[in-house]
Symmetry: C2
Subunit: 376 residues, 2 copies
């Protein structure tokens, strides 16, 4: 595990006014869920189901799929570690830069790990990434090549990607992704759709992923319902793949309150509604406002969070200064009570990279003004 994930409120004694540091959108009213859990506190007095069948059945019904194609986990993070364990020793390729836990889990379980950093990472670093530019590369082939089938020796057993991607909010065009999956039937595509709710772009549905046969999709209740403290995620995919994951899951891994919450939300999916068009519009407003400040570059995003970069600034004395995300983070936390994510520990990113998730307009204005002040 890297040191320095987001939402490290606990480092600052919780004296934080607004939190942009995790990709969780906090403007969600969870009153109904919290009341439900308070009234079902009795759940802590009993063992949860050793394997959470009842919840898996409810999640399957929600997606209109077979319960045998769902594996509930203690957050999407457990899903990542279980997949790495179930395919222990595999060859994994990871589309970088992305959530660091894929690589950590793969290394822990003896995978050979390759990172694809071209053209995406380079484009991110150069600030040349545009919406239509992404080419999904797999293996060591040239990403620009038209050959979608991988050469035998370079073919990974698992290909990991996050879609929309953490930290930059990129979404891979659905048609391109489907073509790659179909052309590489011997590679399992592990697609982390934890942020799937937070984009208007079309994504692979669980039914399509199951039909493909070589796709595992990760889902996060944490992100959609802003309840990261409970730990609830799940994987969907073809029955044989899900069985392999279930076989390595320890009993009682999903706690009883997470199960209770999951059942409640599966049966009441309209709990805690989010005005998604308004949130995404607000995210673009935040991006434009920050991007207009001298010394900040903000990457394009297809979701509510975005990757930013502190650029070198030449001052009146012709001295070039460049701030680091670490110093900006300290400044914002200490002076303004605002928390951002120092993104310098993402593979391929630099000391100037930070990530923010849009929150309410009022909170976003606090951030814009505070960063403007920092840049002076």
């Amino acid at each position: 595990m890297i040191v320095g994930h987001g939402d490290d409120l606990w480092r600052f004694g919780r004296a934080i006014v607004a939190n942009f540091s995790s990709n969780v959108y906090g403007g969600v009213d969870l009153t109904a869920l919290k009341e439900h859990l308070s009234h079902h506190m009795e759940a802590i007095s009993h063992y949860p189901e050793p394997e959470p069948y009842t919840l898996e059945k409810a999640l399957a019904a929600l997606h209109g799929i077979d319960p045998e194609c769902v594996c509930a986990t203690s957050g999407a993070t457990e899903a990542i570690y279980l997949i790495a364990l179930a395919w222990r020793g595999a060859r994994s390729t990871i589309l970088q830069p992305t959530f660091s836990e894929y690589a950590d889990a793969c290394r822990l379980h003896g995978h050979s790990v390759a990172g694809i950093t071209e053209p995406l990472c380079q484009a991110v670093r150069n600030g040349t990434l545009t919406g239509g530019d992404e080419t999904l590369a797999i293996g060591n082939e040239s990403p620009a090549g038209g050959d979608e089938t991988l050469a035998g020796s370079d073919r990974p057993d698992l290909f990991w990607l996050c879609n929309p991607n953490n930290p930059d909010g990129r979404v891979i065009p659905k048609g391109q992704l489907k073509a790659r999956i179909a052309s590489n039937p011997d590679t399992i595509f592990v697609i982390d759709q934890s942020y799937g709710f937070f984009t208007e772009d079309p994504l692979l549905t669980p039914t399509e992923a199951i039909a493909a046969g070589n796709v595992l999709q990760l889902h996060s209740m944490t992100k959609r319902y802003a309840m990261p403290g409970l730990r609830l995620g799940y994987v969907t995919g073809a029955r044989a793949l899900i069985e392999r994951i279930r076989n390595v899951r320890m009993p009682w891994s999903v706690n009883a309150l997470a199960i209770e919450a999951g059942l409640y939300l599966a049966n009441n999916p309209d709990t805690a509604p989010i005005d998604k068009p308004a949130l995404l519009k607000e995210a673009q407003r935040l991006r434009n406002a920050l991007g207009s400040l001298p010394g900040i570059r903000v990457e394009p995003t297809r979701t509510h969070f975005m990757l930013c970069h502190l650029e070198p600034v030449t001052d009146a004395d012709q001295q070039t200064r460049q701030g680091t995300a670490a110093s900006l983070k300290q400044y914002l936390a200490r002076e303004h009570g605002l928390l951002i994510r120092d993104a310098s520990n993402f593979e391929g990113l630099t000391a100037g990279h930070f990530r923010i998730a849009a929150q309410t307009p009022k909170e976003n204005d606090l951030l814009i003004n505070a960063i403007r002040e920092y840049l002076k």
Copy 2:
């Protein structure tokens, strides 16, 4: 994971009057903790600490040990799986019969697994086990031998035991255990003390275990505080051993409400008091009452749960009948709403073995009467 752990309430639609099937003592008043959690439901809206430092510090203070000697986990079960992973491929010896997850976790992580079933298991099967009889055998040596140091080739890397032991409530005499630990410095003793609160027998303290250097102790908040739904356990041991476990623990594995509960209980250890002498006395009353029924044998126990066996009974027609734990369990659940643990899936036990944990005197009387009726 085996099918058929205890506390499988969910199989019976929760129409259960009393539950003897898990080793959790339910006669505990958790009102204060449940109220505390209801008032701290906000915890679900934030990520827990990626590694639960604050809780580990509080648990260390409780035991008077260094925080670097504590690793908090999502139930003691996660501790078992993490130890097996951290020592992947090791030679493990397990004192059988015992909790099945040690063997499952070791096999999952490529250990060579040996079970010591003599003399304990044989004695259990024969009904000849007495309090003073247990000899702690390690490796393949004769358990009766006086040589406490293991031969090189048979020496396990890890020696797993549960103390008090699940399913039979046996406690290994402390002096004997300490001598074995001292004589085998190259073997790590994984001692599951989940039921440590529930005996009057002396056990190794965390301070003694840390000083020994080759001991990992598992602790369960679940058992002491009857809150198996929350998932909270921890490991104590020498700093180098704990570091090895922490290095393979995934981030956020302990959920925020479990951390909140753990902090509350560490700071208020007298929450939910249990009259231990009364409980243990009641357990002996239950044992004597069941043992006096024709067709039941109950093993000696040093704690509040016990291992029972249905014996062959010869009826008036000289027909020998022997009930199974499975049929008794079905009968008790369906006819009386009482849940017991079919123990036939413990390594080395038979179809006639079942386990019960003493509950309140009134509940225990329901069980005694129901089993008496079954035996007619």
